[in-house]
């Protein structure tokens, strides 16, 4: 399982974000994209997810052009973006039911167990708009417990989470990588994953300004 991007060029509002940028993500790797605000972290993740066409370059999944193996790629990839796709008027349980349908997750654990894991037990039937920002974030992240996709792409997963929440997610990432999965994430948080080195990719160094 490798995701590879070669010769990436991307500009936004007449500013070059990447030029001849290359990145390869192998099995059991944690890649942390770092860079200042506006350096193109989210843009890069969206390109990797196939959610942006505003680039030139090659995107390869298992050595094949991503465009041709999109279905296979989307089955093995889980993306939690800035906006996690949590519907404010649905309850956490209803949100997760829909997301697990989209992910085709094969009941690694039940939705109630996932909610318990993220500390939302007892809130499963409260509409998400009356939850706090951190709790809403937790609803989006509960998918990580449900999904069996080997590749996770996470955009600022720790925003609004408390310290305990962050260390739980770090442990989850560690377990995922230990089981052979890979994670690409952006965060300004000092990430510490037990028994695993994190490969940093600094966008401030690759950009031409």
């Amino acid at each position: 399982m490798t995701l590879e991007v070669k010769n990436l060029f991307c500009e936004r509002d007449e500013r070059v974000l990447f030029s001849s940028f290359a990145l390869k993500i192998d099995t059991a790797e944690v890649v942390q994209i770092i860079g200042q605000n506006g350096s193109g972290k989210t843009t890069l993740l969206r390109i990797l997810c196939g959610l942006s066409d505003a680039y030139t370059g090659d995107l390869l999944w298992k050595g094949q052009a991503l465009e041709e193996v999109r279905d296979d790629y989307y089955q093995s990839m889980l993306y939690v973006g800035h906006l996690a796709g949590v519907k404010a008027s649905l309850t956490p349980e209803e949100n997760l039911q829909w997301m697990s349908q989209l992910d085709k997750s094969l009941n690694k654990c039940t939705i109630m167990q996932a909610l318990k894991q993220v500390g939302l037990y007892g809130f499963e039937d409260v509409p998400c708009h009356s939850l706090s920002a951190g709790q809403q974030r937790r609803v989006g992240l509960a998918r990580l417990y449900l999904s069996n996709a080997p590749l996770w792409i996470l955009d600022e997963p720790f925003t609004a989470l408390d310290k305990k929440g962050v260390s739980e997610k770090e442990a989850l990432i560690a377990a995922h990588v230990h089981a052979g999965g890979s994670v690409i994430l952006t965060t300004h948080h000092d990430l510490s994953i037990p028994n695993k080195t994190i490969r940093p990719v600094n966008l401030d160094e690759v950009a031409i300004r």
Binding site: C49, G50, L51, S52, D53, A54, D71, D72, Y74, Q75, M77, Y79, G81, H82, L83, A84, G85, V86, K87, A88, S89, L90, E94, Q97, W98, M99, Q101, L102, D103, K104, P127
Partner: protein
């Protein structure tokens, strides 16, 4: 099929939690029907003559008003991105969304249309043709409106643009829809009109979801 049902269930649940979305098109439809005779003429012969056209135009505009929001919240909270990066088919998600929109707009309009027809002194023999033409015509309006909604979802103010894009596509449905009611009210055969409305519906049902999916991809990825 299972996936389609759960997509439909989610959309209906969302509509149920925002009941305004159901009431708005219906209220608009009823308001036009109530105000038109007051503004123009309460004369029964005049009203029964213009009834098919006015009721159909009111129904069309009620659909157009509500179609703008069909993908809006999904775009704003990131749900649409999740649908695009899913290996499940976008076609079914889109179909469920359009069906939900039709159920809360066109279907409800068709159900209350006899009431409006009564206000317009439409001859009783025209009621059946009114309901059937709305039931066959409004799904097409939802499908075509959704193409416009998908194209403009990323724009902050898509409202006017949507009308410009979609209204030309609505015209055939309006002509045949109002024609059905006119023929029905005069006691003529309506099978020809209904066959045309059904043909337009089948064509748009086959092709529109592809156009909507492609338009959503363009809107999100650009």
């Amino acid at each position: 099929m299972n996936f389609f049902m759960s997509a439909l269930k989610r959309d209906l649940l969302l509509v149920f939690r925002h009941r305004n979305d159901i009431i708005n098109p219906l209220a608009f439809f009823l308001m036009v029907a109530v105000l038109f005779p007051l503004g123009v003429s309460p004369d029964p012969t005049f009203l029964s003559e213009v009834a098919p056209g006015v009721i159909w135009v009111a129904a069309l505009l009620a659909c157009l008003l509500s179609v703008d929001g069909i993908f809006r919240t999904d775009y704003e909270d990131g749900s649409l991105e999740q649908m695009l990066v899913s290996s499940e088919s976008l076609y079914l998600v889109v179909l469920a969304k359009v069906l939900t929109h039709w159920l809360v707009s066109g279907f409800c309009l068709a159900i209350i249309s006899p009431l409006v027809a009564m206000m317009f002194f439409l001859p009783e023999q025209g009621y059946f043709s009114l309901v059937v033409s709305l039931l066959l015509g409004t799904p097409t309006l939802s499908l075509m409106g959704a193409i416009g909604a998908a194209l403009t979802v990323a724009l902050r103010k898509g409202g006017v643009l949507i009308s410009l894009l979609v209204l030309p596509l609505y015209i055939p449905v309006l002509i045949f829809g109002a024609g059905t009611v006119q023929a029905g009210a005069m006691g003529l055969g309506i099978q020809g009109y209904l066959a045309l409305l059904a043909a337009i519906l089948v064509l748009s049902l086959m092709l529109a979801p592809f156009a909507i999916s492609a338009a959503l991809k363009i809107s999100v990825r650009s």
